[in-house]
Each structure stands twice: as C-alpha cells, then as structure tokens.
Symmetry: C2
Subunit: 138 residues, 2 copies
C-alpha cells in the first residue's frame, strides 16, 4: 500500500534521539506508524499488530502513543468525535476528512498569518480540520 519505507536503523535512531528505550513493542508501533500513513487509531494499531505481537495489550498501545506524543514523535489528531487518531507526520499541516468514506487526507497549510490572536495571547499549537466530500466520493 504505502511506498514509503523506513529502515530499522532509522527507527532505532529516532527513539535514541528522543531518549526512549527501544522495546520491541515501541519499535513495532513506531514502524507501524511509518508504514501506515492513514492516521490510525489505537484500535487500528492494536488490531493490526496483534497478529504479530500475540500478547500485545491495548494499554501498551495507549502508553506508547502517549509517550510518543509527549516526546513529539507523533501528533494526536482530534478530527473524530469519539476517538483519537495519530499522525507520524508532525510537520505543520491540516487535515481533511471525507464525511462519506471517512478517509483522512493531509493538507498543506496555507501559510496563513496566524489568525487574529489578540496581543498578549501566546499561541502554542493549533489544529485545523476540514470536513467535506473527497474526490473519490463525488
């Protein structure tokens, strides 16, 4: 499906850089995120990795993603009403959700001069979600 490959060494280097000890589970979850650029949920990751990691626990997936978000390796995406998606691409961009097929698309951000934030307010981060109909569903 996804062409982009990531080698084991890069995974290890990334974890190392961020001061995260490279457990088998963490490596596998991070690798999964690199190979599946679909903004997967905990459920997705858990289901897909379970066949390989027979004893994987959902709690581990939650713990690991929490850690990755804290260490700024992945970004949590609040585009869904009732669960969180995760994005391995932490560069500034926004998301489009097709309200028909449910697919999430990445959107380049339009270097907007960041809104009318009043003086005295300090932006830390922001998120933009666009909902609509995608090309395939029209």
């Amino acid at each position: 499906m996804n062409i982009k490959k990531i080698d084991h060494q890069s995974i290890l280097r990334l974890l190392e850089e961020k001061g995260i000890s490279p457990s088998f589970q963490r490596i596998k979850i991070l690798e999964y995120l690199f190979l599946n650029r679909t903004h997967p949920s905990v459920e997705d990751i858990y289901k897909d990795l379970s066949s390989e990691l027979l004893t994987l626990s959902k709690t581990t997936v939650y713990n690991t993603l929490k850690l990755f978000v804290e260490k700024n390796i992945v970004k949590a995406i609040g585009i869904e009403k009732d669960f969180v998606r995760y994005d391995i691409d932490i560069s500034p961009h926004s998301h489009f959700k097709c309200i028909k097929c449910g697919k999430i698309y990445d959107l380049k951000i339009n270097e907007e001069k960041d809104n009318n934030i009043d003086e005295g307010f300090k932006k830390v981060y922001s998120e933009k979600y666009i909902y609509g109909i995608c090309k395939n569903c029209k």
Copy 2:
C-alpha cells in the same frame, strides 16, 4: 456577567423559525446559551439549570443540543479532548483555548483563502482550534 440580553420573544421566534416546538426545557436551554457565552458543556448546562428545572434530565440536555445542532441553531465545538462544548454563535470564527486557565476565547477568522484543498474536493465545514496562553495567564 454577560451583558448581551435576549428576550423571550426572540427565543420563541428563533425556535419557531426552525420548526422546533418551544417546550419549557428547550426555551430554558436556548436562553442559557444566549446568556452564557462561555461555550458550555452538557454538564455545565445541566448543573446550572437543574436548580430551576428540578426534574431536568441530562438526556434532555443531550437531546436538545443534538436537535439544536441539526437545526443549525448552535455549533458543537470539539476543542476539548473528552467532551463537547456548544456555541450559540454559529457565524464563522475559530477558538482559542488557554492551556493554563482553560478558558475558551472566540477568534475572528482571518478570511484565509480556504487552504489548499485539491480540486475535486468539496469543503462542507471546517474548524480551527488554537491552544496557548491567554492574556490573563501570562
């Protein structure tokens, strides 16, 4: 607290316009939203109205807000991780959340030429959330 007043007649007219029969609960909830421009949650509304509407049920608050959202009287705001806020102001604007005090501020939108949505994609609606530190908390 909030200066903006709304009279009973306007509330009734608005419900009428949208084809919503004006039950006591609906009137009170809508009035609450007009008087409390704080992007309240179901919990907020339920707690605050309970003293006046002794038998109010949380389900009624959920039902009513669902109806209001469908009829385009209020907008659901997904700025929080684990509950929904509601905004009586349905005009296009974005939201700022102070990560220190938790307060939500309205932001005028910077008539951005709506992002780089690829041709063939059709936007239906969008949301922008900015997180940071507000004036009072610096």
